[in-house]
Symmetry: C2
Subunit: 413 residues, 2 copies
């Protein structure tokens, strides 16, 4: 491999300007909504002691985690999710007032087998509320995520919800051994993908009683009533538009202890879950030594971005809105002056450094999706006038130098 | 070490809400200025092939770089700066139009010996222009960084600049062997810290001719004239306020080939360089195989943040501006309704979940620097009125429920 053949690592990506500008806008909107709902940002390190992360994500997680020994001989691990580092923060800073509402939008790393839409470095957007058992907190997490989706104008989303405590109670009613309940839940979780018939077969093969799924459905509709009524009232109160109780929603992660939920796109359910979460009242206790209730949710930024791209909602982006072309190096002082005036007026603007052929300069500007070009040569300099070309609509106007900022603002905004 | 003793790794930090809100505002302002100057964001991965980063940062860099073998047996390294990954991007995507103006604000990792103000994970804010030899590009990088500092209202900054080509020419005039020139530059770079007398002694000890520093000063003032005139014109044109030619500014990094520069705080020069950079026309060639001119600069976010803190410019931060207190659980639907109305009006707001004693609720709100509390009990519900308490000024007003949003907006904005 010669030096100029060095590529990005498998499962990793570069975000070039067009994509990165769009991603930054999405992240900004999500952050704004999270703050509107009273969540404050925190940031935790990329590396943690392996001792913190190890054993927290099951056998699979152990294999996928990036771990190594640092220069000081410490065994360290790269952030695998945003939840376990949060438990350390709660343990390390007991002075943080509870309920502690935080958000974090940051990359995590997992050495997954690379496949379409799955990467080894990907962003999670998490909100969590630590220190409250109130179901209002559960509902508020859901409301926050729904509001984030609304702000992205991604189309209607639906949140499906369930309660692990209800599920557990039903499984007890059905005489399912608690040690088998996670297996039952993981099988039922596949109903959306493979249908009830296939799941029934699978449950039978696993040794569950026949008709277990039918019995489960019958009992849970009674058992869930109180929970569903309360949750629906809270969700409505927080302004959530589309929610539905789903007795089959399980979420495979074993640390959930109460509400679980998942968001899908109403018109594109095939995209699968674009966000999910739930209540986990025991996880923090594993780090802190004493149980602390918590509920949280997470948006997978990469799947969301793919959905937005697929829906044609990611338009071509530009950093600069205006370019000042270079017709004559003797006019450099004028070009710099125009450029600086536009910037001082808050207009994103660049100056083309070299006096290349105009064709080349236009091609450069169009390639970058720049909207307006300032054309200013010897003649214009004498007349104190500027030619302003709209590169999208291919129209050109001539304006007085003194009116340039006003004219550009009216064309852009 | 028991689980709840697990701390953050040495040299790493958690950013809790107060600090993180302030950091996010700083990053947002810097990004906004970078875009105003026509730089577009990119993002490169945290991990790269070791082959890309190895040998690029000298002996010291080799020791400080976090490297390990991944699950696929690849030797990988954590990002050490933002410049070398940029060279790979330039090599991998020849379709990127030149000049390519990009910015990246991201953490980098170096296993430095931890000391005050020095961390193993820290943020760099880089702007670079690739593909132009124009000195206007050099000046624009400087102008961009100065504008970023102005937007932070950090006080006056001064940029000192020099030209490696001028320095090299003077050293040739003085018959200094080119292989000794980096040693000369590194010694002279210390003048600010230890003064001319000490540097002269050091140079003598290193075997340089006596009075070398005096000769250098005399000749460089003649040799630099053209460069200084051109640079001063460009900097003025781009609106830079405070700049000064510094014949002693060297910057020790060996890849610079032209302009070098450094920013200091006018009133706090003891803080040292808060940003720096220069032209590096050969570095990209090492990755790409063919030389490509480039110039760039970098703000060290952490030193900047320390300077802002020191200047008392980091005020207490809050995520939510308003809190809806919980006086009576029977009024939950009303509380949610008020909360949701405020949020829909764009007001950052939280709802206190538990009907705890009011004292406790006020203490919580004040601890989080929340400005206004909505107090709404049975009586207020009957009268459709709301008590609004300003937690900073300890004043309370009563307003009609219908006027609540308007009243709060006028109190906050």
């Amino acid at each position: 491999m010669s030096k100029n053949d060095i590529q990005v690592l498998k499962g990793f990506r570069d975000y070039l300007p067009n994509e990165q500008i769009a991603r930054r806008k999405i992240i900004a909107k999500i952050s704004e909504v999270f703050e509107r709902f009273g969540f404050a940002p925190i940031e935790t390190p990329t590396l943690e002691y392996y001792e913190l992360l190890g054993g927290k994500y099951g056998e699979e997680g152990e294999k996928l985690m990036y771990t190594f020994e640092d220069q000081g001989g410490r065994k360290v691990a790269m952030r695998y999710d945003l939840t376990v580092p949060l438990t350390r923060v709660i343990a390390n800073y007991p002075e943080l007032a509870k309920p502690f509402k935080r958000y974090q939008i940051a990359p995590v790393w997992r050495a997954e087998k690379p496949q379409t839409g799955r990467y080894r470095e990907f962003y999670q957007c998490d909100v969590d509320i630590v220190g409250s058992t109130s179901m209002a907190a559960d509902a508020e997490v859901i409301a926050t995520l729904e509001a984030a989706f609304k702000s992205l104008e991604i189309g209607e989303v639906i949140v499906k919800f369930n309660d692990r405590r209800v599920i557990d109670k039903v499984l007890v009613d059905l005489n399912i051994d608690p040690k088998d309940s996670l297996n039952f839940m993981r099988a039922v979780d596949k109903i959306e993908k493979i249908g009830e018939v296939e799941v029934s077969k699978e449950l039978k093969k696993m040794g569950f009683p026949p008709k277990i799924l039918e019995s489960y459905k019958m009992i849970i509709n009674d058992e869930c009533k109180d929970f569903v009524t309360e949750m629906e009232n809270l969700l409505s109160g927080f302004g959530v538009s589309n929610f539905v109780y789903d007795p089959f929603l399980m979420r495979g992660i074993d640390y959930y202890t109460g509400t679980v939920f998942e968001f899908i796109l109403k018109d594109k359910p095939e995209f699968g879950s674009i966000a999910g979460g739930g209540r986990y009242d025991n996880l923090i206790g594993k780090t802190l030594g004493k149980d602390t209730p918590a509920v949280g949710g997470s948006i997978g930024l990469d799947r969301l971005f793919a959905a937005l791209q697929d829906a044609g909602l990611i338009s071509p982006q530009t950093a600069a809105e205006v370019i000042v072309l270079n017709l004559d190096p003797k006019l450099t002082a004028e070009y710099l002056n125009i450029t600086t005036n536009l910037r001082n007026a808050g207009i994103d603007c660049e100056f083309y450094y070299e006096p290349n052929k105009l064709d080349k300069q236009f091609k450069y500007a169009e390639g970058k999706n720049i909207k307006l070009a300032v054309i200013f040569g010897e003649e214009e300099a004498k007349a104190r006038r500027v030619n302003l070309k709209d590169l999208e609509e291919k129209k050109q106007v001539t304006v007085d130098m003194d009116d340039l900022v006003t004219e550009i603002k009216s064309m852009l905004w």
